[in-house]
Structure formats: C-alpha cells, structure tokens
Symmetry: C2
Subunit: 534 residues, 2 copies
C-alpha cells in the first residue's frame, strides 16, 4: 500500500458526511425589509430556479467552470466520503429511531480524534493552558487549591516569555522564541544532537496549510500519497509519485521499489524534490527499523531529495523490540550533517497519546537547507500570521513535560502510560482477531494509532462490488457498517498494491468497547465470507 502523508483523512470524510446532511436544509437568505434608513422596496429579486442565474438572467459571479479546475477535479469519493456519509446517515437514523438498525450505536474506527471518543486530556497540559488564558488567576489565593504548583510555575514562566504577558498578541511568525527554545531542548535531549530554536517553525498542526508546500508548483512533486497533505499539494500544482510499502516485511520501505518509482517519474520529466516518510506509520502502524531509516537517508542524500519526515506518532510505540529514532538522529549516526541532507521533521499536538487535535499546534524542524533556500522558506512563513498561541504553548509542553520531582510528574506519567498501554492492549486484541479470520492478515501494531489489515476478498464479492460500481474494499466496509455499525476506511483511499484489499481501523475506541467490536466483526466477517463463497 501507499505511504500516507497525513493523519487526518477521517476528519475530511466526517466533514463531508455532516455536510451532506446540512445541505438538505439550507435556505436562501431572503431579502426583506431592513431597519436601515433609505431602504427601497425590498424583496423583488429573490425568486429564481436556476442556481447560476440571477433574477434578471445575468450570469452569477462564479460558476463551476470558472473555478480552479484542480479543485473541481478532486472527486468526492477520493475524500473517503462514501462510507463516512453512510455512517452519518445511520447515526441520524439511530437518533430519531433507535430501532432503525440492528445495533444501537455507530462505532467510529475511522477517526483519529480520541478526545471526541471520551479520552480525557492531560491534566497538567490543561492546567497550564487555563492559567495562560486567564493570568488573573495567578494573583488569587484560591488558585493554589485548584492547580498544581508546577503548572502555576510553568504558566508564570511561559507568560514571562511573551511580550505583554498575553496569549492575545501575535508572535514572531515562527512562534514565540522562548517556546521554540523549549522545543529545541526537547528535541536535543531526545536525539542527543543539538537543535536550535531558529530551525523550529511553530504551525497550526502538522497538516496545516501554508507551510512548506506553499512554496508552490515546483517544490513538492513528492513521492508519497495520502489524503490531506497531498490534496493540498495537488491543489498547488504538485505531481504525486506513489510508492508502496512492503507488507510482507512489516510495511518496510522498499528502497529498490522507491528508486524505480523515482527513476520512472524522472524519465517522464517530473522534477522530484522530496520524499515523505511517516514513521511510526499511518495507516500501517509500523515502526521503521534503524537500518531501513539509514537506507532512506542515503537515498535522499544521493538523489538530492528533501526528506519530509512525518514523526507525529513518535511517542506511540507498542513494542519493546523497536524504539522511535528521528531521521535527524539516524542521519547524524551515519555521519551526515546539515551539509548532506535537507530534512524537515513534522510533529504535532494532535497525533500523540495526548490527542489534542482541536488545539491545532505543531512544529516543523527545518535543517540542511542552503541559507538562500532557507530564506525563501522563511518568507513563505512570514506571509501568514503566527500559529495560535495556545497551540504553541501546548506544543512546548508536549516537548517539555513534567520531570521527576515535579508535583505533576506522577499523575502525568500515570495518564500517559494508562493511555499508551490501553492503546497497546486494544491493538493486540484487534490484531489477533483479524489474524484469526478467514482470508485476513494483519501486521503487529508497533506504533501510531491504526491497523491496516488485508482481506482476501472472494471473487464473488469482487463481482458484486463491481456490479455496484464500487471498489471491493469500499463494498466490504459498507457491508461491515450496515451490519455492525463499525466504521473503517477502505484501503483504496490510501492506495494499495493492485489486487490486494485493506481497510484502516484505528485502535482509539475506548477499551471497554473492544470486546463488542471484536465479536461483531467476527460474526460479520464469517457471514460475509459465507455469503460470497464460490
């Protein structure tokens, strides 16, 4: 299957689903008597049938034909919308009539949105954010009963870094320098290599538009596919060159396949500039081996590719056999410095165990660019206002959490370990279920937040899907949904080796629901295979 360049596909599909519903009850705003002075007779131009014509028959300002053809060409079904739309309809059915389906709730295994599914935010993080929002609390005696001492001290420190001590001011367009210092320290301590505040660009999340990809048309004809980040690139004129991960080897990056795709693209005149690698992987859940990472670094160095490392799942590791190594650390370990490889590492507050998706905080660490190119990257950043300050603060907390001896350390660790071990247990139970089912196989979840099992679909199921003009994996996902209320994302959304079928299933639902999910899944899959057996 294809490497995925962004973690947010399910949000997109959720939006589309909700949208479809909302469209149905939309109205024109009637022009009616207003309270203004000098108001002429109102209401004379409000009735017409043709959406592209006004009352006098003049053309509207815009028609689909006058829009950016790249936008129009993005088909809705690419947005993983169909399954999510159906789920949304069924959710509404259940709300109006709980007996409308053979189950009482929709179970969203397509989201990367843990807090909307009941996960609690980290207490220390939220204490600091609340104090920074309303610094007046720091002057009140009752505050010490409501907040931990290290949260109070941290909020004081952070406010001291901000001109005017207010989260309401614009910051430097790369983010508040003191927060970037804290993040650089966290990176340096993670990697055992120096990191500089000057290389950190704080962003509204790793999938935020307006960062590197804004450098435009020629910059990112990428080797990757994946929903959000890549749609954004396509809209800016980039050509995407997909590559497959090697499922038989635990979703390893197959360098010779990558090289073949690269050479093929270049022979077609595509100037390939960068390689996106997601590690730990989404949707595939693997943690790349250090040796595989070295190969990737060497390839990028030798081929002159910017390595865009999506490292947003760096804390989510579920195996003792592997650990997360940043690409920067790996490059350093084989003697490469800034003169050898151009590297951008992405992180965010959305995707780790803390799951603060709605905060929109993230950073990119930009290293190994020439000073001239670097200046242009900076210029692009300076064309947008700063990222939101709360997101900046939260990103600094993630990279500099409570330490041993701090009042919040014990609760912080307990919350973190509780979430990660729950995710690990969910993953293990689901992997073992999937591997017990006929025709299904699933790699171990080493990290991140989802599984990507393959399903060998019976030929009759494939024919049935084709007869309905549906991708076979979408057909499977829709049947699963109708029968169980479980929502997954068809593998065809991400790309997969032709003739194979997969789905993405997150491990985020609350742990107490896992037995239910497993039993429903088993019953559905057995019945499905029986129905389509030749």
């Amino acid at each position: 299957m294809h490497q995925n360049g962004a973690a947010d596909v399910d949000v997109t599909s959720l939006c589309l689903a909700v949208r479809c519903h909302v469209r149905a009850r939309r109205h024109r705003f009637p022009s009616r008597a207003s309270s203004m002075a000098n108001s002429p007779t109102p209401g004379t131009h409000t009735h017409q049938e043709d959406d592209d014509r006004d009352a006098s028959g003049a053309a509207r300002a815009l028609t689909v034909g006058s829009l950016n053809p790249k936008v129009v060409a993005l088909a809705d079904h690419h947005l993983a919308g169909r399954v999510a739309r159906r789920a949304q309809n069924m959710q509404e059915d259940l709300e109006s009539n709980p007996a409308s389906h053979p189950f009482n709730e929709i179970i969203y295994c397509n989201h990367s949105n843990p807090q909307s599914q009941g996960q609690q935010p980290n207490k220390f993080f939220r204490e600091v954010l609340a104090l920074c929002e309303y610094p007046h609390l720091l002057d009140r005696s009752q505050t010490s009963f409501l907040f931990s001492s290290d949260a109070i001290a941290r909020a004081q420190d952070i406010l001291g870094l901000i001109p005017g001590r207010s989260t309401g001011g614009y910051s430097h367009c790369q983010g508040i320098e003191g927060l970037r210092d804290a993040i650089a320290d966290g990176i340096a301590s993670r990697d055992g290599l120096p990191s500089y505040a000057d290389d950190i660009f704080l962003t509204d999340g790793a999938a935020a538009p307006g960062t590197l990809n804004d450098t435009g048309n020629d910059f990112l004809p990428l080797i990757t596919v994946g929903p959000l980040i890549t749609y954004s690139m396509v809209l800016r004129g980039a050509t995407l060159v997909p590559y497959y991960l090697d499922e038989s080897k635990g979703w390893r990056v197959n360098i010779s396949d990558l090289k073949k795709q690269l050479d093929g693209a270049r022979s077609k005149g595509i100037a390939v500039r960068g390689l996106v690698v997601v590690n730990p992987g989404n949707p595939t859940g693997q943690v790349l081996s250090e040796e595989n990472q070295c190969e990737i670094v060497e390839l990028c160095k030798n081929e002159g590719l910017v390595l865009l490392a999506d490292e947003v799942y760096q804390e989510n590791i579920y195996t003792d056999q592997k650990k997360f190594n940043s690409f920067k650390k790996v490059a350093g370990s084989i003697g490469h410095g800034e003169g050898d490889i151009s590297l951008v590492s992405f992180h965010s507050v959305s995707n780790g165990y803390y799951g603060e998706c709605g905060r929109r905080g993230g950073y990119m660490e930009v290293t190994g660019f020439s000073s001239e190119v670097r200046k242009e990257v900076y210029k692009v950043a300076s064309l947008s206002p700063c990222s939101n300050i709360s997101g900046q603060i939260l990103m600094s907390l993630v990279m500099n959490p409570p330490k041993v001896g701090d009042e919040s350390y014990t609760s912080y660790r307990a919350e973190r370990d509780g979430i990660l071990s729950s995710l690990s247990r969910c993953a293990e139970a689901m992997v073992s279920t999937f591997n017990s089912l006929e025709g299904m196989s699933c790699s171990k979840a080493e990290g991140a937040i989802s599984l990507f099992p393959s399903v060998r679909l019976p030929p009759q199921a494939i024919s049935a899907a084709e007869a309905m003009n549906t991708e076979p994996d979408a057909f499977y996902a829709l049947r699963l949904l109708e029968s169980t209320g479980i929502v997954v994302v068809p593998g065809s959304v991400f790309g997969q080796v032709p003739g194979t079928w997969h789905f993405r299933c997150t491990i985020l639902p609350q742990e107490e629901k896992i037995p239910l999910i497993i039993s429903r899944f088993k019953a559905f899959h057995e019945a499905f295979m029986e129905e389509f057996r030749s």
Copy 2:
C-alpha cells in the same frame, strides 16, 4: 492610495526584522557521535563552504532556482521590511546600551497588535476560555470565587455543544455547529436579516490561508492590493488589479475609477472574479457611507463580481455621523438577495477592540453562491483540519457577548467602551496634530485602528531619497525612526496615487504615550521640512 485587503502587514514586517537578527547567529547542526547502536564514524561530512553543495560536491536537494518562482519573485521590500528591520536593530541597540539613540524606547505605530502593547484582554472572554480549557474547574467549589457566574454558565453551555465536551477534538471542518449558530444569531441581530450556521465557516483568523483563495488560479484575480491576503493570492497565481480610494472624499470608493480599472483589466484578458473592500478601512480609517456601499453592491451585481467584504473592524467606529453597515444588510436594503449577489463577509477576533490576534479565530459568512460552487468552497474547507477550537469559542463570544442582566455585562461594557473611547481620543489627537503640520493632511479617523496621512514632501527630500535608492515615503519613515524611535509603515507598501506620499500610523499605543508621540513627531517634522526646504 490602494485599498488594503488584509490587516496584518506589520506582523510580517516584524517577523522579517526579527529574522534578520536571528540569521546571524545560526549554526549548522554538527553531526557528532550519537548514542545509537551501530553508529559508524561520525562527523566526516560537516565542513563545506558552498551552501548549495554538499561535502561530496553533489547538488543540494533544493536551490533557489528549483523553488516556486512566484515565491522568489516576492521581494523582501514588499513586506514592509526595511523600516521594521531598522527598528528591530535599534531596539537591540537600546537593550544593550540605553544611550545608543536619542530616545529610550521604540514606539511601534506600525503594529496591529494591541495586547503586545499592554492592552488587557476582556475578562469575560478569558474566563470562559480558561474554563473550557480545564473543565475540571466546573466541578470545584472554589471556582465560584474566581469566575463570574455567567462565564461559568457560558462555559457549561459551550462544552455541551462539543462532542466529548473537550476542546481537544477536531470539529466539523466549518467549525462547531452550535458555535456557528451563536455567530449566525449575532449576525442576524446585527443586520436584521436571517443568517444561517450553514453559511458560516470558522477559520484561523481572517488572514488565514486555505480558505477561499485556495480555490486557486482563476478564482481571485482581484481588484485590490494589500499585504497578507494578496501575497497569498499572488502565490496561488492570482493577478491583482489595484484601485485607488478617493482621498479628497474621505477615502470613498470611486466607482468610475473602479469601473475603469475593471474594464482595463478585462481588455487585457484578465478574468476578474471578485472585489475586496475593507470597511471600516485599513489603513485609511474611513467608514464607507451607505450610499457608497450601495454603489459597490450594484457594481458587483452588474459586473458579476464576488464581493469579498473585509469587515473585521465592525465594532471600531469613532464617529456619531456614521455607523457600520454590513454589505449583506446594504444589499438586502436595496432588495438584493442571494440570487443577486455573491458575498463573503470576513470577521476575526484579532482586529476589533478586543485585539485577540494571537488566538487566531475568525469566520467567513458565505452567501449567494450557486449550490455547485458552494459545494466546491466546502470541498476546499474540508481539505484542511478545523480551525483551532479556542479561536472558534472566542469568535462565538465576540458575536454573542454578555447581555444586560448578566453578571459580567457591566464590566464587559466598561472594558469595551474604555478601549474604544481611548482609541477615539488617540485618533483625534493624532489627526489634529498631523493636520497642524506643514504639508501634511489627514482624514478624520472614523473607524478601524489606523490613520493614513499624506505628506507633501519637499523636492529636495525626494531627491535625497532617490539618491539613496529609496522610496521617498520610506526615506521619511526611516528619518522619523532614527530621530524619534517612532515606527510607521510607508504608504508605498499599500500603494498610493503616483506623486503622493503617505504613511500608516496606528492609534493603538497606550494613551499615556500619545503626548510624547505628538511632541516628538512635531519636532521631527519641523526639522525635516526645514532641512529639505528649497
């Protein structure tokens, strides 16, 4: 001078200024022994002089030549950088040696960043935000001593609108529906016209990338100029068609000039799609008359232009003679409904008297598009994650502030009226100063947050500027800065009628500084005119 499509020029220039300083102390990250297993000899590739070559002489991944030429072509001086950079250097001088300049502080009249200049955030807004950040507070008895009762009630209401009651989840990509309901109610009550949550798209501020302009190349060859929003459009391939406001008529939009520009652009084959109007105006500070707004609406209707109404200063009105009327209300008052005019109204939490720039909250209300075009607008929005939830909440508070009878109403009104009347007094004092100076004239500040006085520069000053290869208004601004520490933005950054010279001066500095600003300004201007008198 040209109409300005965005309010944030000074942030950009601030960023550039800081950046220049930071670049000088940037280092390569050395590749050095790492703690990883299997680490080969490190540090062999770190020394080279040529920024675009690596140690082996191979080309770097990117050179300026391989970047998007539209980015490279954006000259730094367009970013209002020169004056701001010099101010930043002088700020550093003063920090290391308070006697280095003939004044002890830099006074930023180029910023739209009030909270960084000491303005306090609104208490009710921040109470609600803090409670939403850390909802655990709502369960504690001490909370009632620290927060007002209506803030507690509002936070409860808002959390009830959010699935999982957490600001950490992604929302619908248009924003949380219940918050959009509150915003639509606020708009409806402002205009006396219906407004629908379905038409509201919550954004990371009015200058956020990734909203309408992302629809791409053909969509927004606009009639406007102005820093942030327009750079963003240019990067996406739009052509900007500038128009001048009529200074002699209080910065009115001159419809016949506009029509001439439009026809001229069309005769060159430019498919003009939209018109940006900023009302109240930035940098010009005018409030458009209702009659002028009617003319603009009719022009857009007749010429098939989308009217992009930047209405971010709608609360900042300093005159009893005029009031803010939204373009939607004006269109309705002359009988136009959704079938007649395509209209996008922008608002944000940054630009009103509350000045919450760092929160990145905003909305656009999108009306009058055909359902097909509307679907494409939605598609573009769905390609980005939601805007940050705190910003969404704050936008809803701005549009639905405390009402008569609420505990916070009195303090809310006092804070608001205090800020607005202080701004009004500052503006009046500065306008009257500018009008008292030789060769200078300044329109009354009717609204928004800045003045745009014209200066009739002596021919010898113009020659001196030309000899230094500098725009005459930038020359004036630089001399002002060197002599007084006051930072303004040269008019050439925004565009102005050839042969005229202006500067933008915000009215945001704390009121107690105004007498100092005025006396320094007077002394400087008199000396300047004397120096360059023929």
